[in-house]
């Protein structure tokens, strides 16, 4: 039947402005889906073409991921978690690979830092020069005890061929004879390396030991014989390395070996595009559906007339659906353009913050855009059908009667579902209060969604309740205020549809931002209380290996402890919720007693005295997440993926500010790329006497090496809050404008009855204020119900809410509502004045 579509087309063509609200809502939904889809697809396709290994068609490297395996048999799922540091391969493997057919050479490649007196150099084994294109300019290749420098390094150290230069490596300070000078290849200075900082090459036999990883290399680059097929070569190499656990990479996968940051970048993009994108899409779809429903309800009289004149329920449903469908394609397309802009900006920000390597490019293909448009269409169709059910079903007589006033009782199904969602939210709140760590964070999200669902479903009831509460004082505040209260009470449906977006924005923004401020606040407090050292020594190139010993030799120094900051992976959870959590770790030189002199970890159980090889201390949050206590063994993965099962000797309370895991420095040696400590904590001594070692500050200068996760995570939280907040703001304004425009007649009638223009505006402002107040209050309640148990689980304290920030959110909500109400009202009243 074509007729109802004709009606829909006529309706849209005649009064396009009445569909503007639906258009905007659908366009925004498309915007969010397009932006998140682009980021997700970029994450899926992200790859970096190899630079360093460009001339080696095949590269052998260790697997840079650890895997979380859930389920078994058919449902077996493996989730890859990138390792915090580089996993390495045995150098001995190079001999096996070289024997494979078609291989011209198998070159073990290493990159590691060495220190000069007051700077650092990027060092490699000399063997890698055939791969990177470095060439000897003068002198000879280095043998054991010798080094080849590039021009910048020689200049920095003020040496020439034949001189001796003192360099600090993982094994300590040594003197090397400068055997020659070379021109570095384009990638020799490192990824973010400053080409002016200098490159050094050591003998292949000595390099692994100097790097701190005896017998291991970062990767083995395979050079091919002329005329050999790359795929055949790859197959042959694979055969040669079977059983060693190493992986063979070709094509762009070689770039992933060079760029360890790629794994993190992909994980971050999946998180934003996938997880956040999913939530944002659901929110956007439900909001758009609500707008379509509002638009349909505003035209209830027209549909009642159609029913009276002879339209079947089916024709009405199709008409409502068609109207939404006519607007959807253009809305979808219009939403895609700013969506691309948002993705572009977000991607750039992530690159600026170092989450995504510079070499990764953002891909914009047609798929996410198509998905956005299709989603807009489906939302319009679905929402249209659901919104059309009521005008289609009810008897025309009833419809004509009702059209002037809202029906009082909400549908039974809706009420039941709303109560179920409310109860569900309360239950999950209880669950998250008794759990802790990551389980609490996961439950928090569920709580917000369930409460939001309850608000959406029980909207009119909740609105009427709140208006009842607030209406009493309003009634005494003058004619305009009491009129506003009466309007809101009788039109609770309209009120509810305006309150919902504000509540949504407030709840999500508050939860995300105050989660971040709470954690930050707790971390800062713990940091301030936790560092009891008199002096903190740091150096941009890292502290020398014997820094602690040298400090102790300085007069006046009672204790000196070196700290290396890195990360380990800890498996937590069980069954379906197994995951690998990255835990900030500090490796400390010195014994537990010495550590207690410079750091106050607030030990709750056990004691630090036994800290040492195979014995660690952990933070209480990790203890409860991983379900271990003093005396248990905690399975974990060291930064390069090596498994370990140390015993827990102490549980302390300041893990958020200091580090989640404290272990002895020696256990980490050989498992990290940089052998140089980050910080030296000193008790006693004076600033002047320690100045030789590096920059000296007092305790306030200590900065935990926040893992890339945490830094990017807090920015991402704010970003997500901004996106959801912005979306809710537009949705709220959209809804409010729609409702005010629809009341043009009513406002005109008020003017005729004798209200001045100012009085009508004031009444509307009161209504806007009411909407904002209820929305902000509900949103705050939801955020509180979510954050309080969650923060109690993760940081053990109440959430920290900066009053200024909260005030800003509230002011934004109120300002928005007032603006959205005043502007259309002025326009409408202009005709009547």
């Amino acid at each position: 039947m074509m007729r109802p579509n004709g009606l829909a087309r006529a309706a849209v063509r005649a009064k396009p402005a009445s569909f503007a609200g639906t258009f905007i809502a659908l366009a925004m939904a498309a915007l969010i889906v397009a932006a998140c889809g682009i980021l997700l697809e970029t994450g899926l396709r992200a790859s970096v073409p190899p630079e360093r290994y460009a001339s080696a068609p095949v590269v052998v490297a260790a697997d840079q991921n650890e895997y979380v395996v859930t389920g078994s048999g058919e449902d077996r799922e493996e989730e890859a978690v990138p390792l915090p540091d580089t996993a390495r391969v045995d150098v001995a493997l190079a001999t096996k690979v070289a024997a494979a057919p078609g291989v011209a050479a198998a070159v073990p490649d290493l990159t590691f830092p060495v220190r000069t007196e007051d700077g650092s150099l990027t060092a490699h084994g000399w063997g890698s020069h055939v791969v990177t294109g470095a060439e000897l300019a003068s002198g000879d290749a280095p043998s054991t005890g010798e080094v080849v420098l590039d021009a910048a390094a020689a200049h920095q150290a003020e040496v020439a061929v034949g001189d001796t230069v003192t360099l600090q490596a993982a094994t300590g300070q040594h003197a090397f004879r400068v055997a020659g000078l070379a021109d570095a290849g384009p990638t020799d200075a490192g990824h973010d390396g400053d080409p002016a900082s200098g490159v050094a090459w050591f003998a292949d036999a000595q390099a692994p030991a100097l790097a701190g990883h005896a017998g291991k290399a970062d990767a083995i680059a395979v050079l091919a014989e002329r005329g050999s097929d790359p795929d055949d070569l790859a197959g042959a190499v694979r055969k040669a390395v079977t059983g060693s656990g190493a992986q063979v990479q070709v094509g762009d996968d070689r770039g992933a070996v060079e760029q360890p940051g790629l794994g993190y970048a992909k994980a971050a993009l999946f998180g934003i595009g996938g997880s956040f994108g999913g939530i944002a899409a659901i929110v956007a779809v439900l909001t758009a559906a609500g707008t379509v429903a509002l638009s349909a309800s505003q035209r209830a009289r027209e549909f009642a007339l159609l029913r009276a004149v002879g339209a079947t329920p089916r024709q009405i449903r199709r008409a409502v659906a068609s109207e939404a469908l006519l607007v959807a394609p253009l809305a979808g397309v219009v939403g895609c353009l700013p969506g691309i802009g948002l993705a572009h900006w977000w991607f750039g920000q992530l690159q600026d913050r170092g989450v995504i390597p510079e070499a990764v490019r953002m891909h914009v293909t047609v798929f996410p855009l198509l998905a956005a448009v299709v989603l807009a269409l489906l939302t319009a169709l679905g929402a249209g059908f659901v919104a059309g059910r009521r005008p289609a079903k009810i008897k025309p007589g009833q419809a004509l009667r009702e059209a002037s006033m809202e029906r009082l009782r909400p549908g039974t199904i809706r009420t039941v579902l709303g109560v179920v969602a409310l109860v569900g939210g309360a239950v999950v709140t209880g669950v998250s209060a008794s759990s802790s760590g990551d389980a609490a964070a996961g439950a928090a999200l569920g709580v917000v969604m369930l409460f939001m669902l309850a608000v959406g479903l029980l909207g009119p009831l909740v609105a009427r309740l709140c208006v009842g509460l607030l209406g009493l004082p309003m009634r005494g505040a003058g004619a305009t205020a009491s009129l506003a209260a009466a309007n809101s009470r009788t039109n609770s449906r309209r009120l509810a549809s305006a309150i919902t977006p504000i509540t949504l924005g407030m709840a999500f923004a508050s939860t995300l931002v105050f989660m971040h401020t709470s954690e930050n606040h707790a971390a800062d407090e713990q940091l301030r209380a936790g560092i009891t050292a008199d002096h903190v020594v740091t150096h941009p190139a890292g502290l020398p290996v014997d820094a602690a010993t040298r400090a102790l030799a300085t007069p006046g120094v009672r204790t000196a402890v070196g700290v290396l900051d890195t990360q380990v992976l800890v498996p937590i959870g069980s069954g379906e919720f197994k995951s690998l959590q990255g835990a900030a770790t500090q490796g400390v030189t010195g014994s537990g007693a010495e550590l207690a002199q410079v750091e106050d970890l607030d030990v709750r159980e056990g004691s630090l005295d036994r800290l040492g090889t195979g014995r660690i201390a952990i933070d209480k949050t990790l203890a409860s997440s991983a379900k271990v206590g003093v005396g248990d063994r905690l399975p974990l993965y060291l930064p390069d993926g090596t498994e370990a099962r140390p015993e827990v000797v102490a549980v302390y309370g300041r893990g958020l500010g200091l580090a989640t895991v404290t272990m002895d420095r020696a256990s980490l040696a050989g498992h990290v790329t940089s052998p140089f400590d980050s910080t030296l904590l000193v008790r006693g001594g004076s600033e002047r006497s320690l100045a030789a070692l590096g920059e000296v500050t007092d305790a306030s200068g200590y900065a935990t090496e926040q893992s890339l996760d945490a830094k990017a995570g807090s920015w991402s939280n704010r970003m997500m809050a901004a996106v959801l907040g912005g979306f809710s703001a537009v949705a709220a304004m959209n809804t409010l404008v729609m409702t005010v425009i629809d009341r043009r007649r009513e406002l005109g009638a008020l003017r005729l009855v004798g209200a001045t223009r100012l009085q009508v505006l004031r009444m509307l402002r009161w209504e806007g204020l009411l909407v904002a107040a209820i929305g902000v209050a509900l949103g705050t309640a939801i955020a509180a119900a979510t954050l309080i148990p969650m923060m109690r689980g993760t940081i053990g304290e109440r959430p920290y809410v900066p009053p200024l920030l909260y005030g800003a959110f509230t002011a934004a909500g109120v300002g928005l509502a007032l603006l959205a109400v005043t502007l259309p009202a002025r326009a409408a009243l202009r005709r009547w004045s």
Partner: protein, 276 residues
């Protein structure tokens, strides 16, 4: 004019048990009740309505506000389902019909004119007149629409939108639409309520013309004695049931009868059913 005093059950020729309407009657209501709400808050809009209207007549239904006029119209026209009783239109019982069947009926055999908001603002005048045909999926007969518009004196306004017409002109379009399907019955709910006397007279003349020239049956709810004077008969609704009527009355007679209806003594002891 025939009267129908029976209420409740009557002998039935059909073995199925469904009540049959009396042929020749355009509108027939038997024992119709309509109650809103539940329990103590319930409102009995129609308490016991019995009515029989022959074809080709113009009947005005009158009564004070709250007497149940609009409810009566909606029940009679199939826009609402009565709590009890049966309604027959043109011999067919509509009380048991499904929504789709009722819709069919409304499209082809009934016409409606409301007090206001008769037209879809997004369609032109011509499209509004042809709306019932459009909904039926039938071919839209533009000649017929033009003829109807000419009959109501708005032939030149076919392409305008309702917003461009005056109130009286909009009502005339509504009448044109009501007539376009040659319906059995036209139901009008206060069609002249929002119009001045001159324009109101035009509308009533059109309805009268529909009855006299085209043989339509018109049931008009109104509170205006002057409008009721155009009808063949004016029936009075009070407290949800009929309480007498006036045949071929003048506006003054009708007004006087209405005033009398307002006092409680006049209503006591009145017989149920349409009475002269």
């Amino acid at each position: 004019m025939r009267r129908h005093d029976d209420k409740g059950s009557e002998p039935d020729e059909r073995p199925t048990g469904a009540t049959t309407g009396t042929p020749g009657l355009a509108v027939e209501l038997r024992g119709v009740r309509r109650r809103y709400g539940r329990g103590t808050g319930a409102v009995n809009a129609l308490t016991d309505v019995n009515l029989a209207l022959p074809r080709g007549t113009f009947t005005a239904i009158m009564g004070p506000s709250g007497s149940g006029k609009s409810t009566f119209l909606q029940c009679a026209a199939g826009l609402d389902r009565p709590t009890a009783g049966s309604v027959h239109l043109g011999g067919t019982e509509i009380t048991g019909m499904s929504e789709n069947e009722l819709t069919e009926l409304r499209r082809s055999r009934l016409g409606f004119v409301f007090q206001a908001f008769n037209l879809l603002p997004s369609l032109t005048v011509e499209q509004n007149v042809l709306l019932p045909m459009r909904l039926a999926g039938a071919r839209q007969d533009r000649h017929r629409a033009a003829a109807m518009l000419a009959q109501v004196g708005l032939a030149d306004k076919a392409r305008r939108r309702p917003a461009e017409l005056s109130g009286g002109q909009q009502q005339r379009v509504a009448v044109a639409r009501a007539l376009v399907t040659s319906p059995d019955v036209i139901f009008a709910d206060e069609p002249t309520g929002a119009l001045d006397t001159g324009t109101a007279a035009e509308i009533l003349a059109l309805l009268r013309q529909g009855v006299d020239a085209l043989g339509a049956t018109v049931v008009m709810v109104t509170h205006d004695p002057a409008a009721a004077a155009w009808a063949d008969r004016a029936l009075f609704l009070a407290d949800g049931t009929f309480a007498g009527g006036v045949e071929h009355g003048t506006a003054t007679q009708i007004a006087a009868r209405m005033a009398a209806l307002g006092t409680p003594t006049a209503r006591a002891g009145v017989s149920v059913g349409a009475a002269a």
